[in-house]
Amino acid sequence: MNNPTQSQKYDVVIIGSGFSGIVAADILAKHQLNILMLDENMHVGGQLLRKIPEQLGEYASYNPDYVKKLGFRFVQNVKHQKITIMNRACIMGIYPDKKLLLEVERKQVMEINYNYLVFATGARERYLPFTGWTLPGVYSTGMAQVLMKSSGILPAKSMVIGGSGLFLFSVAYEYLKNKGKAVAVLEQTGMMEKIKMVPALAHQFSKVAEGFKYLSRIYLSGVPVKYSTKIVEARGNGCVEEVVTGKVNSDGRLISGSEKIYKADALAVGYGFVPNIEAPQLAGCDLEYAEDKGGWIVRVNDNLETSVKDIYAAGEITGVGGALKSINEGNITAVSILHKMELMAESDYVKNLARLLKERGHHMQFVHFFNSLYRVPAEALNDIPDETVICRCEDITMGDIRKSVAAGYKTPKGLKTATRVTMGNCQGRTCGPVLYDMLGLLTGQPKQSFGLFNTRPPLKPLSVEALAGFVEKD
């Protein structure tokens, strides 16, 4: 990385260095553009491309699956190209005159000017609160995966894995492979519905192969895999010691009397992914609510340009669909920007875009099935007891939320005023997505009609050092 000064200008700024970001950067850099790719994380590669301890900074000896292999090649490419990469960079503000304010390395504040901006901010995990989910030892499936993949550490000696979605199986596989004691794998949605997904998998060979690999290992290990089974409660003295589970009916409601208790040191939970739309929201990009795409997503046209001119969105934030879709959209974004900058001939552009959009169509089909079939019905939220904490930052309970909605606070804004939900450190990233579902359930109104919890700059709490430096220099 060259040494950034206080104010810098780039042709293209890419926010996020996951698959979509690195693919776009790689293509654009081949055209001698001045590119900045920034990420709040410590490494380049986003959610999927994580280094493992054997070869920190060196990916060559690792033999990952096809898609990951491809990804690691992109990571190497962008590191060798003339791309400015900033890690541990957080957005403080996004302004209409094509300007960003960043906090870098927790100490420096920088002003960045751009001609084109690409949001490639990916997705995070979705949560479904249950009693005891605040106990230490309840980990997201992503955290369990990251501990193993980035630090070579098992989350615990024994672990129950539950929630919904294909990712549960990927985590169970990794955990078993590393000699963890998987106590049970629990999928809250039913098994039969999954068969409907088969047609959507036609263009997703790598996903099917991956699925088989996971399932066969789990079954061969003799770990119980239960469908239509939910986590009812995590219990323990100061941290997880046992997990209460139960069967659910087609509405996702607990069938009483079906409870079962598993002893385990940890519980990994995951309920699919939600797009990280906060940065585009701050930039004023139009969002739309699409349950079958993961919730609130960024609205884009065929060029993946957002409602704000010269701002693009690629990857999970336009619909949660995994790595191949992100690669495809990184491509589309690059082609669109190159065309706009008159760096790509019209005929090449038309040909490329048509091919890429056709491929995107297949991915969007997968997005639809993936997000619909693993969606836990909203009615399931009725099972959450009043005492259960929903907003972890502010210790706000399900009862507080029910009471506030009954008292007339029926929108995100109202609920926030009434209860302080989403006003803590995480700014609603953990409970926000499920709060939309709760509001929908409790009011009977469509979610698109409520609007969003507002975002405010900075997107994450800042360090005192960065602020001090900023004020001094101002």
Binding site: M42, P136, L147, L154, P155, C239, D395, T430
Partner: protein, 93 residues
């Protein structure tokens, strides 16, 4: 103490850091969160309002449940920080 480090992984150099004054060993390249969990520290903080024990949830910088004090600086997300030799870490009792 159970050993949570996965076998057969070639690790970088061994380091020592302290948690509430106690020495803990770890390896370079590990996140602080991972090093804490490997040393048996599941709890990283107490919830600000009711004071209930909390530990890392998301592991990727979103939830702020794994915040600790590092070398005197409070509210550091341990999942977004690499553990370093001689780091002085304080977590809520």
């Amino acid at each position: 103490m159970v050993d949570l480090r996965i076998e057969n992984i070639k690790r970088k150099e061994a380091i020592i850091f302290t948690v509430n004054g106690k020495e803990v060993s770890a390896y370079k390249g590990e996140t602080l969160l991972a090093a804490l969990i490997a040393a048996g520290y599941k709890k990283t903080k107490r919830s600000p309002i009711k004071g209930n024990p909390r530990g890392g949830l998301c592991g990727m910088g979103v939830c702020f449940e794994c915040i600790v004090t590092v070398n005197g600086v409070p509210n550091i997300r341990s999942c977004m920080t690499e553990v370093e030799n001689n780091m002085v870490v304080k977590i809520d009792e």
